[in-house]
Symmetry: C2
Amino acid sequence: MSALECVLTELAEIFGDRISCSEAVRDHHSHGEGWQEGRLPAAVVFVENTQEVSTVLKACNQHGVPIVAFGGGTSLEGHVTPPENGISLDLSRMTQILEVNGDDLDCRVEAGVTRHALNAYLRDSGLFFPVDPGGESTLGGMCATRASGTAAVRYGTMRENTLGLTVVLADGRIVRTGGRVRKSATGYDLTRLFVGSEGTLGIITEIQLRLHGLPEAIATAVCQFEKLEDAVNTAVTTMQIGLPIGRMELMDEVQMDACIKYSKMAGYDVLPTMFFEFHGAPAAVKEQVETMEAVVADHNGKGFLWSNNPEDRNELWKARHSAFWACLAYRPNHRGIATDAVVPVSALTELITGSKKDIEESGLLAPIVGHVGDGNFHTVILVPPEPDGLARALELDRKIVNRALSLGGACSGEHGIGLGKKEFMEREHGRDALDIMRMLKISFDPNNILNPGKMLPDNVM
Amino acid sequence: MSALECVLTELAEIFGDRISCSEAVRDHHSHGEGWQEGRLPAAVVFVENTQEVSTVLKACNQHGVPIVAFGGGTSLEGHVTPPENGISLDLSRMTQILEVNGDDLDCRVEAGVTRHALNAYLRDSGLFFPVDPGGESTLGGMCATRASGTAAVRYGTMRENTLGLTVVLADGRIVRTGGRVRKSATGYDLTRLFVGSEGTLGIITEIQLRLHGLPEAIATAVCQFEKLEDAVNTAVTTMQIGLPIGRMELMDEVQMDACIKYSKMAGYDVLPTMFFEFHGAPAAVKEQVETMEAVVADHNGKGFLWSNNPEDRNELWKARHSAFWACLAYRPNHRGIATDAVVPVSALTELITGSKKDIEESGLLAPIVGHVGDGNFHTVILVPPEPDGLARALELDRKIVNRALSLGGACSGEHGIGLGKKEFMEREHGRDALDIMRMLKISFDPNNILNPGKMLPDNVM
């Protein structure tokens, strides 16, 4: 029997029909939502609790069978692509919300809970969880990729919002890290070592999360600009003056065109546009709106429409969150490649205007959206259905990332490395920092069974 | 020649009179400010840049000579106590502020820069660095111990305010971690692995820090309470309603008595007292003050005196920052042991009222101060000059820490582990998490030369 057969035989006794080798199930687990080529797992194991994850990992480690965790399958950089002759470990049935401590603004959830499910659960509690990447991502996956989203500018990313973890190590040991305190100074920060480790050091099964009180008042505003630079500079100024903005999102004129058509947004021009959200107590929100109105006026903003009507707000953010789908609808038969780059905020204008030139020169269509308060922006490169379409799109993607790195940035603000960004790791971190990362990988996973081939450039799959 | 002699001979050629074996210098480097017994280092090496740190570590690593970094010498848990036959590496001459990026609210400093020096340098820039532990601590030491202080409730600790590091590894390799971006998702979070590692994984030589804009408006307020519970509950409620408080500090009636006498504070009663600070735009600050006034009224606060006069503010925080010295002056000939414990905010009232009982039962005098918004509080146990004084004080200290752990807390909010808290590590983290920490220690420092004996319970000195 091969190592894989040994493991599957061993697990079959325990998991029964929760091990699947069906074509449909394997296909669903063969890829995320990125452009990277998928691969069928040998089998998919559906786990229901931490102990089961431990059982599976013990078996895999003993026999040297590689394994990758799978949650919502929304990864954009190939994180969930199974290794060769490997197992996909599906945690999407681990959907229990284990505790909500309203008084301390924290909760503990299983890794398969989605951010939507958590916020639906919290609906009447006056609390919410602010990290909002696109898609039906699970909190386990968001933790593993250090996800963020539109509200990170105010509330931070998964790094800041994860208090503690339950992690299963390669050899099946179950470890609790961190805890429920807001701060501590008691040993190595294991929690943050696992956050963003992309399933290569251990598999996250439970997460203690920070929650936030729903703001007493929320207002939104929209402002359009003739020039993209003016829109970006508005964001840069906002950060520099320290306005505690709740959300601040950029769409260029191409993205606006797509969104106007897709989301039937009335009353907007096809121009670079900023969406703002203000959170706080009523007088504070009013004051923020006034300050922002002055900032956009300084940057040649065309009108400044603000509202504290929840319906206007929902419409606005629904349109923003539909941006990716709006792009796909904008050019039927095109695939979309979501790029991701981040720079210090002062370099953002140069990054975005330079990238805009790169896009023009490429002859491709690539609408821009950006979490501009964080110095983070995306384009959705629309890949024409032509033989060299993907190659041209990837060339453009690489150009934008290299531009960000030249400006002192990082190759990913929130999508992670996976398979798609490995080539940039050495340029960004340098050889010695990469060597430490490799040392960590080997220490935690000496048999290289945990998501092999991801993140580290010479981590073979 | 012994290993130590080999190293000192090798280094003497390079460092000349910057290696000192004088009694006075060695004595200064033999201890921090904690109660733990000191030990003379074999020699002290004064380094002036990262490359020199690398040279020293290479030599130490090659010959197996243990070494500990020394900055301001303000550690409270014995972190800087030299290992036997070891070297104390003094970084206090590394005082360059290497860059300030006002537009991005960040800066890069050498490890020997103190927080006071950085803020003095920033004085006219409209920026400040908010992490403010007591004493003349260096930013390198603050990073290594994951320090915080009175403003952490609003601005976070060294964990949140460190963007990147230059670290020298045991074998002399120089590594840059992190960078200048506000967020990224590109590999293991090495920065946060070194923050709080207490010099046991590498020696931090440069730090990229987040800065913050000085708030447009600042107000302070003071409120006194008949009952300690009411004061603590005020803090708990403030956090639960999400008021973005700038600082929120508790002093019990004993601490107030000491401060009134030491800092000649007029107009206050000897009662439990809360100090507040509000940061923001003018209307927001006004609104926060009004909300807080309502909260203290709900908790039987006696009067609520607020001010936006900078002189009142300086007087208030000067008194707060002198609390430790006020305690020592309160009982001449007594030493002071600063305890440190942290719990989820909802457990704070139980922790503090319980600890107050522990203090009473001990028969010792121990004024209470607390960063209560973080669930963190300290007592300064005044050690009577009697043969069993220290033992009684330590017994009380242990009781308070164990009480915090029983309430789901951590054994240190900000002072760290060093020698003083090693015994609590297993109870707090569990055996498996500790095993991972040990594995990390061995991976980074196979010859155990970096601050041996600290943090991990069986890390021998």
